[in-house]
């Protein structure tokens, strides 16, 4: 390779990977601060059931809890309407988690100093920090407005108290007395059998499912993150015993952002189906599938201010496609041991692969994405304006991912958690993403594991407290800072140890 082009490539990688590393840390911190989950003593109080009746370990639902949710937060015992409740009953639950955690990022590019002055040099260093911290606050209110009319309202804050609406929906249940006809409208979690909003883990990288959020390096498509709450309408049907479930959602392709800030007319469909089987002493096993097929804008009309082209909210056109398809298996091996497996194939249109798509830099869930938080000098967004062409070699990125999550339930009060996730690129975007040369085949690949346990010192229908302990380790290929001497891409490892008291009431 020519020396000057090597230099150019090295600079490119240096910038890109440094940015990716910082973005990963920022994303981790943001995500660790936002852990909306649905474990509601409000329901337990209403029905007089312990947390363990609906939760394998709160907030993760068991089969009975899933059926309760699918019935619109109703037990279907003719006492679901609020008229049967004590007038003083208010269906509200708070959840917050004081924690101590230690975050360690393997490679961060730092400035070097000589005699108290910046010397223009740089070095790579591990940064580890620890301390006491807080999660965000979830403020759940949910229940029934009337028999077969349910609602959910969840204002959620980051640790500083900045609120957004995490979930808001009204659901019409059992329309025409059929459990096969339920309609939900609002902002809600997609019908994921392995629910991220009920995840048992809390660390930055372990508190989300990487499979649900994976985006190739340089990709601008934030709209395919099935772990995020989305704005739209959902149909769900299920058999009376909830063994068979089908669902279809039509959501705006805006990753849950309100105010029509992105595409002018772009929608995404999400389809699910699953079937459960009674295997005697082994338990009830469930297998299912999901598919997300959508389009999102890549060209935004702009209005220039001080020479910076600012996208006009809601003006996105030139829709391009993306898809996610996956299989889910929930396997039980008796009363103590279970394993959930999710496999997913994802692919984005070539334009997304080159960074077009997200013009506003927010993920609609109270945080920023790995791109700029807003278009500004030095932080432009890519806009597919008329006449734009793609770099030579650009291709549609695709990848495969898998999540394996196992639990050992010693008792309803003590659960051990283990998870392994792997995301592997099957086709890199190339083009400008890697400076005009073919990207390494493993660029952006992720492998991560999380282990931990949650111990509930008491179990009642009034409140929940879990002593939470967790360790997460994440490895990503090629997104660490560029080696300062060889110019080679480096991998990045991050880890986090977290202990906390997770409580709701």
């Amino acid at each position: 390779m020519h020396a000057s082009s090597r230099f150019h490539l090295r600079n490119f990688f240096q910038l890109a990977t440094s940015f990716a590393a910082v973005a990963l840390v920022v994303t981790s911190v943001i995500l660790s601060c936002s852990q909306p989950a649905n474990a509601l003593p409000a329901f337990a109080r209403k029905y007089g059931l312990r947390c363990s009746a609906c939760h394998e370990s709160w907030p993760m639902l068991n089969y009975f809890g899933q059926k309760f949710k699918d019935n619109g937060y109703q037990l279907m015992n003719d006492r679901d309407a609020p008229i049967w409740q004590n007038p003083g009953y208010w269906p509200v639950t708070f959840r917050i988690t004081p924690i101590w955690h230690r975050v360690s990022v393997g490679k961060v590019q730092i400035d070097t100093y000589t005699a108290g002055m910046l010397d223009g040099g740089q070095a790579i260093q591990r940064i580890s920090s620890s301390g006491f911290d807080l999660s965000g606050l979830d403020f759940h209110t949910a229940g029934t407005l009337e028999k077969n009319i349910s609602f959910y309202l969840l204002p959620s804050s980051d640790p500083t108290g900045a609120f957004h609406f995490e979930q808001v929906f009204v659901r019409l249940d059992n329309i025409a007395h059929s459990s096969w006809l339920n309609i939900k409208l609002g902002r809600f979690e997609l019908d994921n059998l392995l629910s991220e909003k009920r995840i048992l883990t809390l660390t930055g990288n372990g508190g989300i499912y990487q499979t649900y959020h994976f985006i190739p390096v340089g990709d601008g498509n934030i709209f395919g993150q099935i772990g995020d709450n989305q704005l739209g309408i959902e149909y769900l049907g299920h058999s009376a015993d909830d063994r068979t479930r089908i669902g279809a959602s039509l959501v705006s392709s805006n990753d849950g952002n309100v105010n029509l800030t992105l595409g002018a007319n772009s929608y995404t469909g999400f389809f699910t189906g699953s079937q459960a089987f009674d295997l005697g002493r082994m338990g009830v096993q469930r297998v299912g599938f999901y598919a997300m097929v959508g389009q999102a804008a890549t060209y935004y009309l702009t209005s220039s201010t001080s020479g910076v082209s600012i996208p006009i909210p809601g003006s996105g056109i030139a829709n391009k496609g993306f898809s996610r398809e996956g299989f889910v298996g929930q396997f039980y091996f008796g009363p103590h041991l279970d394993l959930t497996v999710v496999t997913q194939h994802g692919s984005d249109n070539v334009w997304f692969g080159q960074g077009y798509g997200n013009a506003i830099g927010t993920d609609g869930n109270g945080g920023t994405t790995a791109t700029c938080s807003s278009p500004a000098p030095g932080c432009p967004f890519l806009n597919n304006v008329p006449g734009t062409t793609l770099a030579m070699g650009s291709q549609a990125p695709s990848w495969n991912g898998a999540t394996f999550e196992g639990h050992y339930v010693y008792s309803p009060q003590l659960i051990f958690i283990g998870r392994y996730e792997v995301e592997k690129m099957s086709q890199q975007a190339n083009g400008d993403v890697c400076g005009g040369v073919a990207c390494p085949a493993n660029l952006g690949n992720i492998s991560t594991y999380t282990v931990g346990f949650r111990y509930n010192p008491f179990m009642t229908s009034r409140a929940g407290l879990a002593w939470h302990n967790e360790y997460n380790w994440l490895h990503q290929d090629g997104t660490g800072p560029t080696n300062l001497f060889s110019g080679a891409l480096t991998n990045i490892n991050t880890s986090e140890l977290l202990m906390g008291l997770d409580f709701d009431f």
Binding site: Q66, V284, P412
Partner: protein, 292 residues
Amino acid sequence: MRTKLQNWMLLLSSAALLALPSASSAQLSTFDIETRIGTESHVGNVTGHAKDAALPYRRYCVGCHGPLGDGNGENAPYMQPPTFQQPRDFQLGVFKCRSTPTGTLPTDQDLFDAITRGFDRSNMPQWNTLTKQERADLVAWVKHFSPRWLSEKPGTPITIPPEPEVTPERIKAGRDVFARVQCWKCHGVQGMANGPSASTLTDDLGRPIAAFNFTDGSRPKCGDTDTDIYRIFMTGLDGTPMPSFADNIKPDEAWDLVFYLRTFMRQKSKEKEMAKTLGLKPVDPNAPAGQQ
């Protein structure tokens, strides 16, 4: 002057006296119960084992039924009749929903069905999400709380003849049965649970209990098929004021009564249509016997 020993004796005697009421025959110790951990149930081809139900009972049931199965779980104080009913005291071995004659123990299948179906207008949900094996294990667990299963066998399920075709004549005949056996005294002449005795009803433990209101759209506790309704008044609901009418109503008349009760219910039915066509009037409690 009393000695220290006398003081201690007095204190212990007082404590023993205070403890007597709670040591009634129905109150069993953990030891008593644990000796029956080998209890089994047989539901179809599934054999349930009480020892395997400890974990699911703790997960799903203990909050209401209590660790000793006496219905004194932490939530029991908040389930106040008549809106809700107190959790079942399994130690008594008395169950409402049976296929067996009044006063007898239910079959394992009856208990299995109760767990599966749940109870409307109570906090007992349908547990059909559990595997058959888990439910059978829980049946054995429920049985192991009561010593009745040591000395008694479940009753023989009553025989229910095939359901005849509903006709206007049968509905009218059902109305006569309704008047004759005085269902209206509790359930009211229009099935609205407002009969003259309704406000006085208590269960066997003296707790207030409401008669079933046929008109409010809710479902009978022990199932809502015609066969279920037939079974309810032929077996009675043990522990409640609802007696068995097996000695007062012939099987054919029982079906007539089922058809008549259907005319009260909110749900659409052939019986309702026929009653409307007939112009059927509610029974008149003040009319002479036989002309109500």
